[in-house]
Symmetry: C2
Subunit: 241 residues, 2 copies
Protein backbone atom coordinates (compact mmCIF):
# COMPACT_ATOMS: atom_id res chain seq x y z
CA UNK A 1 0.00 0.00 0.00
CA UNK A 2 1.18 3.52 -0.79
CA UNK A 3 0.05 6.61 1.08
CA UNK A 4 0.87 9.71 -0.96
CA UNK A 5 0.90 12.34 1.74
CA UNK A 6 0.67 16.11 1.40
CA UNK A 7 2.37 17.42 4.53
CA UNK A 8 1.32 21.06 4.03
CA UNK A 9 3.75 23.95 3.63
CA UNK A 10 6.31 22.94 6.24
CA UNK A 11 5.30 23.67 9.81
CA UNK A 12 4.16 20.42 11.42
CA UNK A 13 1.12 22.22 12.81
CA UNK A 14 -0.13 22.80 9.29
CA UNK A 15 -0.31 19.09 8.59
CA UNK A 16 -3.73 17.43 8.81
CA UNK A 17 -4.54 14.74 11.37
CA UNK A 18 -5.07 12.36 8.45
CA UNK A 19 -1.58 13.04 7.08
CA UNK A 20 0.00 12.45 10.48
CA UNK A 21 -1.95 9.22 10.88
CA UNK A 22 -0.92 8.01 7.40
CA UNK A 23 2.74 8.62 8.25
CA UNK A 24 2.36 6.91 11.62
CA UNK A 25 0.80 3.88 9.91
CA UNK A 26 3.52 3.60 7.26
CA UNK A 27 6.65 1.50 7.63
CA UNK A 28 8.83 3.24 5.04
CA UNK A 29 8.94 6.97 4.30
CA UNK A 30 10.07 8.04 0.83
CA UNK A 31 10.72 11.65 -0.11
CA UNK A 32 12.88 14.52 -1.23
CA UNK A 33 15.39 15.11 1.56
CA UNK A 34 14.31 18.70 2.28
CA UNK A 35 10.73 17.55 2.95
CA UNK A 36 11.87 14.57 4.99
CA UNK A 37 13.81 17.02 7.17
CA UNK A 38 10.70 19.12 7.74
CA UNK A 39 8.90 16.17 9.31
CA UNK A 40 11.89 14.50 10.97
CA UNK A 41 10.44 14.97 14.49
CA UNK A 42 7.52 12.63 13.77
CA UNK A 43 9.46 9.92 11.91
CA UNK A 44 11.15 8.41 15.00
CA UNK A 45 12.43 4.97 14.03
CA UNK A 46 10.94 4.67 10.54
CA UNK A 47 12.92 3.42 7.57
CA UNK A 48 13.66 6.47 5.40
CA UNK A 49 14.46 6.58 1.70
CA UNK A 50 15.32 10.08 0.56
CA UNK A 51 17.03 11.60 -2.42
CA UNK A 52 17.60 14.93 -4.14
CA UNK A 53 15.83 17.25 -6.53
CA UNK A 54 14.90 16.15 -10.06
CA UNK A 55 14.93 12.52 -8.96
CA UNK A 56 11.17 12.26 -8.71
CA UNK A 57 10.83 9.32 -11.10
CA UNK A 58 13.50 7.23 -9.35
CA UNK A 59 11.95 8.08 -6.00
CA UNK A 60 8.45 7.02 -7.01
CA UNK A 61 9.72 3.84 -8.70
CA UNK A 62 11.56 2.95 -5.52
CA UNK A 63 8.44 3.57 -3.42
CA UNK A 64 6.50 1.23 -5.71
CA UNK A 65 9.17 -1.47 -5.50
CA UNK A 66 9.08 -1.32 -1.71
CA UNK A 67 5.28 -1.40 -1.64
CA UNK A 68 5.34 -4.50 -3.87
CA UNK A 69 7.13 -6.34 -1.05
CA UNK A 70 4.06 -5.80 1.11
CA UNK A 71 5.32 -2.89 3.16
CA UNK A 72 3.21 0.21 3.77
CA UNK A 73 5.00 3.16 2.19
CA UNK A 74 4.39 6.88 2.64
CA UNK A 75 5.51 9.08 -0.24
CA UNK A 76 5.92 12.63 1.04
CA UNK A 77 5.04 15.80 -0.89
CA UNK A 78 5.17 19.30 0.50
CA UNK A 79 1.90 21.22 0.24
CA UNK A 80 -0.79 19.12 -1.39
CA UNK A 81 0.44 15.89 -2.98
CA UNK A 82 -1.84 16.44 -5.98
CA UNK A 83 -0.63 19.96 -6.83
CA UNK A 84 2.62 19.64 -8.81
CA UNK A 85 3.36 16.88 -6.26
CA UNK A 86 3.99 13.15 -6.24
CA UNK A 87 0.38 11.88 -6.53
CA UNK A 88 0.28 12.06 -10.32
CA UNK A 89 3.60 10.35 -10.89
CA UNK A 90 2.72 7.45 -8.58
CA UNK A 91 -0.62 6.91 -10.33
CA UNK A 92 0.95 7.26 -13.78
CA UNK A 93 3.66 4.71 -13.00
CA UNK A 94 1.14 2.23 -11.59
CA UNK A 95 -1.01 2.67 -14.67
CA UNK A 96 1.93 2.00 -17.02
CA UNK A 97 2.89 -1.10 -15.09
CA UNK A 98 -0.77 -2.15 -14.72
CA UNK A 99 -0.09 -2.74 -11.05
CA UNK A 100 -2.95 -3.16 -8.66
CA UNK A 101 -1.44 -1.60 -5.52
CA UNK A 102 -3.72 0.27 -3.15
CA UNK A 103 -2.97 4.00 -3.16
CA UNK A 104 -4.38 6.62 -0.77
CA UNK A 105 -3.91 10.22 -1.74
CA UNK A 106 -3.91 12.42 1.38
CA UNK A 107 -4.47 16.08 0.51
CA UNK A 108 -2.76 18.92 2.36
CA UNK A 109 -2.68 22.70 2.58
CA UNK A 110 -1.15 23.78 -0.72
CA UNK A 111 1.52 26.50 -0.95
CA UNK A 112 -0.76 29.09 -2.54
CA UNK A 113 -3.36 29.12 0.23
CA UNK A 114 -0.69 28.97 2.94
CA UNK A 115 0.99 32.00 1.36
CA UNK A 116 -2.36 33.72 0.93
CA UNK A 117 -3.16 33.37 4.64
CA UNK A 118 0.06 35.23 5.46
CA UNK A 119 -0.62 37.96 2.92
CA UNK A 120 -4.23 38.54 3.97
CA UNK A 121 -6.93 37.34 1.59
CA UNK A 122 -5.66 37.61 -1.99
CA UNK A 123 -7.44 34.45 -3.22
CA UNK A 124 -11.02 35.46 -2.44
CA UNK A 125 -11.96 35.53 -6.11
CA UNK A 126 -11.30 33.28 -9.13
CA UNK A 127 -7.63 32.41 -9.37
CA UNK A 128 -5.20 30.14 -11.15
CA UNK A 129 -1.97 28.32 -10.51
CA UNK A 130 0.79 28.53 -13.10
CA UNK A 131 4.19 26.89 -12.68
CA UNK A 132 6.96 28.91 -14.30
CA UNK A 133 9.24 25.89 -14.55
CA UNK A 134 9.77 24.88 -18.17
CA UNK A 135 11.43 21.58 -17.27
CA UNK A 136 8.21 19.71 -18.05
CA UNK A 137 6.11 22.31 -19.90
CA UNK A 138 7.03 24.21 -23.06
CA UNK A 139 7.66 27.91 -22.42
CA UNK A 140 5.21 28.97 -25.12
CA UNK A 141 2.35 27.16 -23.35
CA UNK A 142 3.31 28.81 -20.05
CA UNK A 143 3.35 32.23 -21.70
CA UNK A 144 0.03 31.58 -23.41
CA UNK A 145 -1.54 30.72 -20.06
CA UNK A 146 -0.08 33.81 -18.41
CA UNK A 147 -1.60 36.00 -21.12
CA UNK A 148 -5.02 34.37 -21.02
CA UNK A 149 -5.19 34.42 -17.21
CA UNK A 150 -4.30 38.12 -17.29
CA UNK A 151 -6.92 38.85 -19.93
CA UNK A 152 -9.50 37.14 -17.69
CA UNK A 153 -8.29 39.17 -14.70
CA UNK A 154 -7.75 36.01 -12.67
CA UNK A 155 -5.66 36.31 -9.52
CA UNK A 156 -2.50 34.40 -10.53
CA UNK A 157 -0.36 32.26 -8.21
CA UNK A 158 3.07 31.46 -9.57
CA UNK A 159 4.69 28.25 -8.38
CA UNK A 160 8.43 27.79 -9.09
CA UNK A 161 8.69 31.48 -9.98
CA UNK A 162 12.45 31.83 -10.18
CA UNK A 163 15.60 29.78 -9.72
CA UNK A 164 19.10 29.47 -11.07
CA UNK A 165 18.66 28.69 -14.74
CA UNK A 166 15.19 30.32 -14.77
CA UNK A 167 16.16 33.78 -13.64
CA UNK A 168 14.03 35.72 -16.10
CA UNK A 169 10.81 33.72 -16.33
CA UNK A 170 8.98 35.84 -13.76
CA UNK A 171 10.10 39.06 -15.39
CA UNK A 172 8.95 37.77 -18.76
CA UNK A 173 5.60 36.74 -17.24
CA UNK A 174 5.14 40.18 -15.68
CA UNK A 175 5.81 41.85 -19.05
CA UNK A 176 2.99 39.78 -20.52
CA UNK A 177 0.68 40.49 -17.57
CA UNK A 178 1.24 44.23 -17.93
CA UNK A 179 -0.33 44.07 -21.41
CA UNK A 180 -3.65 43.44 -19.62
CA UNK A 181 -3.34 44.40 -15.96
CA UNK A 182 -2.46 47.83 -14.65
CA UNK A 183 1.18 48.35 -13.60
CA UNK A 184 0.04 49.17 -10.05
CA UNK A 185 -1.70 45.80 -9.61
CA UNK A 186 -0.84 44.48 -6.14
CA UNK A 187 1.65 41.61 -5.96
CA UNK A 188 2.38 39.49 -2.89
CA UNK A 189 5.51 37.43 -2.40
CA UNK A 190 5.92 34.86 0.35
CA UNK A 191 9.27 33.17 0.87
CA UNK A 192 9.60 30.02 2.98
CA UNK A 193 5.91 30.01 3.98
CA UNK A 194 5.46 28.26 7.34
CA UNK A 195 9.19 27.53 7.58
CA UNK A 196 12.09 29.22 9.30
CA UNK A 197 12.92 32.58 7.73
CA UNK A 198 9.35 33.05 6.52
CA UNK A 199 9.11 36.44 4.82
CA UNK A 200 6.39 38.39 3.05
CA UNK A 201 6.57 41.33 0.69
CA UNK A 202 3.66 43.30 -0.78
CA UNK A 203 4.56 45.26 -3.88
CA UNK A 204 3.19 45.90 -7.40
CA UNK A 205 3.78 44.64 -10.94
CA UNK A 206 5.87 47.71 -11.63
CA UNK A 207 7.79 48.04 -8.34
CA UNK A 208 8.78 44.40 -7.80
CA UNK A 209 12.42 43.57 -7.18
CA UNK A 210 12.75 40.24 -8.96
CA UNK A 211 15.94 39.37 -7.11
CA UNK A 212 13.91 38.95 -3.90
CA UNK A 213 12.09 35.99 -5.45
CA UNK A 214 13.60 32.52 -5.26
CA UNK A 215 12.60 28.88 -5.59
CA UNK A 216 10.99 28.76 -2.17
CA UNK A 217 8.70 31.68 -3.05
CA UNK A 218 5.07 31.85 -4.08
CA UNK A 219 4.16 34.98 -6.03
CA UNK A 220 0.51 36.08 -6.12
CA UNK A 221 -0.63 38.74 -8.60
CA UNK A 222 -3.96 40.32 -7.67
CA UNK A 223 -6.96 41.12 -9.85
CA UNK A 224 -8.12 44.64 -10.68
CA UNK A 225 -9.94 44.98 -7.33
CA UNK A 226 -7.12 43.73 -5.13
CA UNK A 227 -5.81 46.37 -2.74
CA UNK A 228 -3.15 46.81 -0.11
CA UNK A 229 -4.22 47.89 3.37
CA UNK A 230 -1.40 48.29 5.87
CA UNK A 231 0.58 45.07 5.54
CA UNK A 232 -2.30 43.10 4.01
CA UNK A 233 -3.24 42.14 0.45
CA UNK A 234 -7.01 41.91 0.07
CA UNK A 235 -9.06 40.76 -2.91
CA UNK A 236 -12.73 41.63 -2.33
CA UNK A 237 -15.25 38.83 -2.78
CA UNK A 238 -17.77 41.33 -4.07
CA UNK A 239 -19.97 41.89 -1.02
CA UNK A 240 -21.53 45.34 -0.70
CA UNK A 241 -20.34 46.39 2.72
CA UNK B 1 -8.70 38.57 18.55
CA UNK B 2 -10.25 36.75 15.61
CA UNK B 3 -9.07 33.40 14.30
CA UNK B 4 -10.47 32.82 10.83
CA UNK B 5 -10.25 29.06 10.58
CA UNK B 6 -10.41 26.86 7.50
CA UNK B 7 -11.64 23.52 8.81
CA UNK B 8 -10.97 21.59 5.59
CA UNK B 9 -13.64 19.79 3.57
CA UNK B 10 -15.62 18.31 6.46
CA UNK B 11 -14.06 15.21 8.00
CA UNK B 12 -12.39 16.24 11.27
CA UNK B 13 -9.32 14.25 10.27
CA UNK B 14 -8.76 16.62 7.37
CA UNK B 15 -8.40 19.58 9.68
CA UNK B 16 -4.88 20.79 10.47
CA UNK B 17 -3.42 20.71 13.97
CA UNK B 18 -3.22 24.49 13.80
CA UNK B 19 -6.94 24.80 13.04
CA UNK B 20 -7.86 22.51 15.93
CA UNK B 21 -5.62 24.49 18.26
CA UNK B 22 -7.13 27.81 17.12
CA UNK B 23 -10.62 26.47 17.83
CA UNK B 24 -9.54 25.11 21.21
CA UNK B 25 -8.07 28.49 22.11
CA UNK B 26 -11.17 30.46 21.11
CA UNK B 27 -13.99 31.31 23.45
CA UNK B 28 -16.73 31.95 20.89
CA UNK B 29 -17.27 30.03 17.64
CA UNK B 30 -19.07 31.83 14.82
CA UNK B 31 -20.16 30.12 11.61
CA UNK B 32 -22.70 28.90 9.13
CA UNK B 33 -24.72 26.22 10.91
CA UNK B 34 -23.81 23.42 8.48
CA UNK B 35 -20.10 23.96 9.15
CA UNK B 36 -20.63 24.28 12.89
CA UNK B 37 -22.34 20.88 12.79
CA UNK B 38 -19.35 19.34 11.02
CA UNK B 39 -17.08 20.24 13.94
CA UNK B 40 -19.62 19.84 16.78
CA UNK B 41 -17.60 17.01 18.41
CA UNK B 42 -14.68 19.33 19.18
CA UNK B 43 -16.70 22.35 20.38
CA UNK B 44 -17.67 20.91 23.78
CA UNK B 45 -18.86 23.80 25.94
CA UNK B 46 -17.96 26.74 23.70
CA UNK B 47 -20.33 29.62 23.08
CA UNK B 48 -21.67 29.16 19.54
CA UNK B 49 -23.12 31.79 17.23
CA UNK B 50 -24.43 30.28 14.01
CA UNK B 51 -26.76 31.37 11.27
CA UNK B 52 -27.87 30.44 7.76
CA UNK B 53 -26.72 30.85 4.19
CA UNK B 54 -26.34 34.28 2.60
CA UNK B 55 -25.89 35.85 6.04
CA UNK B 56 -22.13 36.13 5.74
CA UNK B 57 -21.98 39.87 6.35
CA UNK B 58 -24.14 39.72 9.50
CA UNK B 59 -22.10 36.79 10.76
CA UNK B 60 -18.76 38.53 10.28
CA UNK B 61 -20.06 41.77 11.80
CA UNK B 62 -21.23 39.82 14.83
CA UNK B 63 -17.84 38.11 15.15
CA UNK B 64 -16.16 41.51 15.11
CA UNK B 65 -18.54 42.91 17.74
CA UNK B 66 -17.79 39.97 20.03
CA UNK B 67 -14.04 40.30 19.48
CA UNK B 68 -14.27 44.00 20.39
CA UNK B 69 -15.36 42.95 23.88
CA UNK B 70 -11.99 41.22 24.29
CA UNK B 71 -13.11 37.66 23.66
CA UNK B 72 -11.19 35.33 21.36
CA UNK B 73 -13.46 34.44 18.46
CA UNK B 74 -13.08 31.71 15.85
CA UNK B 75 -14.86 32.32 12.55
CA UNK B 76 -15.32 29.00 10.78
CA UNK B 77 -15.06 28.43 7.03
CA UNK B 78 -15.21 25.10 5.30
CA UNK B 79 -12.20 24.27 3.15
CA UNK B 80 -9.67 27.10 3.19
CA UNK B 81 -10.91 30.32 4.82
CA UNK B 82 -9.23 32.37 2.08
CA UNK B 83 -10.84 30.61 -0.89
CA UNK B 84 -14.36 32.04 -1.34
CA UNK B 85 -14.43 31.88 2.49
CA UNK B 86 -14.73 34.28 5.40
CA UNK B 87 -11.14 35.62 5.54
CA UNK B 88 -11.72 38.33 2.97
CA UNK B 89 -14.93 39.62 4.47
CA UNK B 90 -13.46 39.88 7.97
CA UNK B 91 -10.43 41.81 6.67
CA UNK B 92 -12.59 44.05 4.49
CA UNK B 93 -14.92 44.91 7.36
CA UNK B 94 -12.01 45.69 9.69
CA UNK B 95 -10.47 47.87 7.00
CA UNK B 96 -13.71 49.82 6.52
CA UNK B 97 -14.06 50.34 10.25
CA UNK B 98 -10.31 51.04 10.63
CA UNK B 99 -10.29 48.64 13.55
CA UNK B 100 -7.05 47.35 14.87
CA UNK B 101 -8.09 43.86 15.99
CA UNK B 102 -5.60 41.05 15.72
CA UNK B 103 -6.62 38.54 13.03
CA UNK B 104 -5.05 35.14 12.34
CA UNK B 105 -5.96 33.45 9.10
CA UNK B 106 -5.60 29.67 9.45
CA UNK B 107 -5.48 27.95 6.05
CA UNK B 108 -7.08 24.57 5.40
CA UNK B 109 -7.42 21.92 2.73
CA UNK B 110 -9.58 23.55 0.08
CA UNK B 111 -12.45 21.72 -1.64
CA UNK B 112 -10.70 21.40 -5.01
CA UNK B 113 -7.67 19.52 -3.72
CA UNK B 114 -9.81 17.37 -1.41
CA UNK B 115 -11.98 16.43 -4.39
CA UNK B 116 -8.90 15.89 -6.53
CA UNK B 117 -7.44 13.40 -4.04
CA UNK B 118 -10.60 11.31 -4.35
CA UNK B 119 -10.60 11.48 -8.14
CA UNK B 120 -6.91 10.58 -8.52
CA UNK B 121 -4.58 13.38 -9.62
CA UNK B 122 -6.47 15.77 -11.89
CA UNK B 123 -4.68 18.92 -10.61
CA UNK B 124 -1.12 17.96 -11.51
CA UNK B 125 -0.84 20.73 -14.06
CA UNK B 126 -1.82 24.42 -14.19
CA UNK B 127 -5.40 24.88 -13.05
CA UNK B 128 -7.91 27.52 -12.06
CA UNK B 129 -10.83 27.99 -9.73
CA UNK B 130 -14.00 29.56 -11.06
CA UNK B 131 -17.13 30.05 -8.96
CA UNK B 132 -20.30 29.71 -11.03
CA UNK B 133 -22.34 31.71 -8.54
CA UNK B 134 -23.42 35.04 -10.00
CA UNK B 135 -24.63 36.41 -6.68
CA UNK B 136 -21.45 38.48 -6.32
CA UNK B 137 -19.90 38.32 -9.81
CA UNK B 138 -21.52 39.37 -13.11
CA UNK B 139 -22.32 36.40 -15.36
CA UNK B 140 -20.46 37.91 -18.31
CA UNK B 141 -17.20 38.01 -16.32
CA UNK B 142 -17.71 34.39 -15.27
CA UNK B 143 -18.31 33.38 -18.88
CA UNK B 144 -15.28 35.34 -20.08
CA UNK B 145 -13.10 33.51 -17.56
CA UNK B 146 -14.50 30.13 -18.57
CA UNK B 147 -13.64 30.85 -22.21
CA UNK B 148 -10.13 32.13 -21.51
CA UNK B 149 -9.32 29.25 -19.15
CA UNK B 150 -10.49 26.80 -21.81
CA UNK B 151 -8.43 28.49 -24.50
CA UNK B 152 -5.39 28.16 -22.23
CA UNK B 153 -6.22 24.48 -21.63
CA UNK B 154 -6.15 25.00 -17.88
CA UNK B 155 -7.68 22.28 -15.73
CA UNK B 156 -10.80 24.04 -14.40
CA UNK B 157 -12.34 23.54 -10.94
CA UNK B 158 -15.87 24.82 -10.61
CA UNK B 159 -16.99 25.90 -7.16
CA UNK B 160 -20.74 26.44 -6.61
CA UNK B 161 -21.46 24.66 -9.89
CA UNK B 162 -25.20 24.26 -9.65
CA UNK B 163 -28.06 25.02 -7.28
CA UNK B 164 -31.69 25.98 -7.31
CA UNK B 165 -31.81 29.28 -9.12
CA UNK B 166 -28.57 28.47 -10.96
CA UNK B 167 -29.60 25.26 -12.67
CA UNK B 168 -28.11 26.02 -16.06
CA UNK B 169 -24.81 27.76 -15.28
CA UNK B 170 -22.74 24.61 -15.54
CA UNK B 171 -24.38 23.61 -18.79
CA UNK B 172 -23.72 27.09 -20.19
CA UNK B 173 -20.10 26.89 -19.01
CA UNK B 174 -19.66 23.49 -20.69
CA UNK B 175 -21.04 24.86 -23.97
CA UNK B 176 -18.35 27.54 -23.86
CA UNK B 177 -15.63 25.05 -22.90
CA UNK B 178 -16.55 22.82 -25.85
CA UNK B 179 -15.61 25.65 -28.22
CA UNK B 180 -11.98 24.99 -27.18
CA UNK B 181 -11.71 21.60 -25.50
CA UNK B 182 -12.63 18.30 -27.08
CA UNK B 183 -16.05 16.87 -26.18
CA UNK B 184 -14.38 13.77 -24.73
CA UNK B 185 -12.34 15.81 -22.20
CA UNK B 186 -12.47 14.00 -18.86
CA UNK B 187 -14.66 15.55 -16.15
CA UNK B 188 -14.67 14.58 -12.48
CA UNK B 189 -17.49 15.32 -10.08
CA UNK B 190 -17.21 14.91 -6.33
CA UNK B 191 -20.26 15.37 -4.15
CA UNK B 192 -19.97 15.83 -0.39
CA UNK B 193 -16.18 15.37 -0.37
CA UNK B 194 -15.01 14.08 3.01
CA UNK B 195 -18.56 14.07 4.38
CA UNK B 196 -21.25 11.43 4.71
CA UNK B 197 -22.60 10.33 1.32
CA UNK B 198 -19.36 11.22 -0.43
CA UNK B 199 -19.68 10.26 -4.09
CA UNK B 200 -17.49 10.54 -7.16
CA UNK B 201 -18.30 10.36 -10.84
CA UNK B 202 -15.86 10.41 -13.76
CA UNK B 203 -17.43 11.36 -17.06
CA UNK B 204 -16.76 13.69 -20.02
CA UNK B 205 -17.86 17.12 -21.23
CA UNK B 206 -20.27 15.45 -23.62
CA UNK B 207 -21.61 12.61 -21.44
CA UNK B 208 -22.19 14.53 -18.19
CA UNK B 209 -25.59 14.31 -16.54
CA UNK B 210 -25.97 17.81 -15.12
CA UNK B 211 -28.71 16.74 -12.72
CA UNK B 212 -26.12 14.77 -10.72
CA UNK B 213 -24.36 18.02 -9.80
CA UNK B 214 -25.54 20.04 -6.82
CA UNK B 215 -24.33 22.77 -4.46
CA UNK B 216 -22.12 20.42 -2.48
CA UNK B 217 -20.27 19.35 -5.64
CA UNK B 218 -16.91 20.29 -7.06
CA UNK B 219 -16.60 19.76 -10.80
CA UNK B 220 -13.12 19.39 -12.32
CA UNK B 221 -12.65 19.60 -16.08
CA UNK B 222 -9.34 18.12 -17.27
CA UNK B 223 -6.85 19.47 -19.78
CA UNK B 224 -6.12 17.86 -23.14
CA UNK B 225 -3.78 15.28 -21.57
CA UNK B 226 -6.07 14.23 -18.73
CA UNK B 227 -7.16 10.60 -18.96
CA UNK B 228 -9.35 8.12 -17.14
CA UNK B 229 -7.76 4.88 -15.91
CA UNK B 230 -10.14 2.52 -14.13
CA UNK B 231 -11.86 4.73 -11.59
CA UNK B 232 -9.17 7.42 -11.58
CA UNK B 233 -8.79 10.79 -13.30
CA UNK B 234 -5.14 11.51 -14.03
CA UNK B 235 -3.54 14.67 -15.42
CA UNK B 236 0.09 13.96 -16.35
CA UNK B 237 2.69 16.35 -14.99
CA UNK B 238 4.78 15.87 -18.13
CA UNK B 239 7.42 13.39 -16.96
CA UNK B 240 8.73 11.00 -19.61
CA UNK B 241 8.07 7.63 -18.00
Amino acid sequence: MINVVGIGPGDLKMMTFQAKEAIDNSQVIVGYKTYINLIKPILSDKEIVSNGMKQEIERCKEAIEIAKTGKIVAVISSGDAGVYGMAGLILELLEVEKLDLKVNIIPGVTASTAAAALLGSPLMHDYCHISLSDLLTPMDLIEKRVELASQGDFVICFYNPRSKGREHHLERAFELIKKYKSADTVVGIVKNAAREDEEKIITTLEAIDYTLVDMTSIVIVGNNSTYKADDLMITPRGYKI
